[in-house]
């Protein structure tokens, strides 16, 4: 902790990793404690976002020279998140139509 700015500034890998770790923790917390399906989805998005941030950060601080492939991988994480959100919300609507509720504790089936 000799130089706080060098260790945790915009030019240090550590700061991005800390932010990503906190984001992942918050996502896990939301996923495991929310009973509403939308809350779980929010947690999932947070976790995916943490993963994408790590890809970009590791690519940027790669040994030798920055590697844009980290950013490219992060773009694919965003794409996967978009596809996942679309399907998850469609399922949510289906559940809502059959049971008028999105409480995961009480949702057991999709058949009406």
């Amino acid at each position: 902790m000799a130089d706080f700015g060098a260790e945790f500034g915009p030019g240090a890998l550590t700061s991005y990793l800390v932010v990503a770790a906190v984001l992942f923790t918050a996502g896990t917390l939301a996923m495991s404690t929310r009973r509403n399906a939308i809350g779980v989805l929010i947690g999932l998005e947070l976790m995916l976002n943490a993963a994408a941030l790590q890809f970009a950060a590791y690519g940027r601080f790669r040994q030798g020279a920055p590697d844009p492939q980290g950013q490219t991988a992060a773009v694919f994480v965003v794409v996967a998140a978009a596809a996942e959100a679309a399907v998850a919300l469609a399922l949510l609507f289906a559940v809502y139509r059959t049971s008028k509720d999105v409480d995961l504790e009480r949702t057991r089936e999709l058949r009406s």
Binding site: L13, I38, L41, I42, E45, L46, F76, A81, T98
Partner: protein, 183 residues
């Protein structure tokens, strides 16, 4: 100076938005706080010299996914009122699990940093990042159409399948009373 200030603002909004989105009772507020966190991460992408990724983050995440989540939040029941209370035991177990996940993430980061330092020592060069020359957007475009072409096409396929599946899912579980007479 101003750069450092902006950096910490982005970090703070990303972290505070995420933690509050995970804990506030009101789901509508949680969705809005998720937006704050996503914008903070977009700012961090700018500091990582990933301008295009920051644009994608804002357009796809904030403009697309967040709007979908907000729409679903407003559509489903019990939005502003007493949302289902999480039992205390579940909250305790969830917090414990989340802390565990955070600890694993920190440990992994530590390992990666140590490996980087060892490499640095072995090669005799520093791990301080050089700046990417100008904009990395053109490089990403080249990568997407060369080395990453197959994943790129697969992503297109994935999005198409997801869209069709979403429509099919909603159609299939339509209630009998809502169904059209001849369909």
């Amino acid at each position: 100076m101003i750069e450092t200030l902006l950096f910490w603002t982005c970090c703070l909004s990303a972290i505070a938005g995420a933690l509050l989105a995970a804990t506030v009772r009101n789901l509508f507020h949680a969705a809005l706080l998720l937006g704050l966190s996503l914008v903070g991460v977009a700012g961090l992408y700018l500091f990582l010299e990933a301008q295009w990724l920051a644009c994608v983050q804002v357009v796809v995440y904030v403009g697309g996914i967040l709007v979908l989540v907000l729409f679903a939040t407003l559509f489903s029941s019990d939005v502003m009122g007493a949302l289902q209370r999480t039992p205390l035991w579940l909250r305790a177990v969830g917090t414990l699990g989340a802390l565990l996940a955070g600890a694993v993430a920190v440990r992994l980061a530590q390992t990666a940093m140590q490996a980087a330092h060892r490499l640095e020592a072995a090669r005799g060069t520093t791990a301080v990042a050089d700046t990417i020359d100008g904009d990395s957007t053109a490089t990403i475009g080249d990568l997407l159409t060369s080395a990453w072409l197959v994943p790129f096409l697969a992503a297109g396929l994935l999005l198409t399948v997801a869209l069709v599946a979403a429509v099919a899912t909603v159609q299939r579980f339509r209630q009998p009373s809502e169904a059209t007479p001849n369909g």
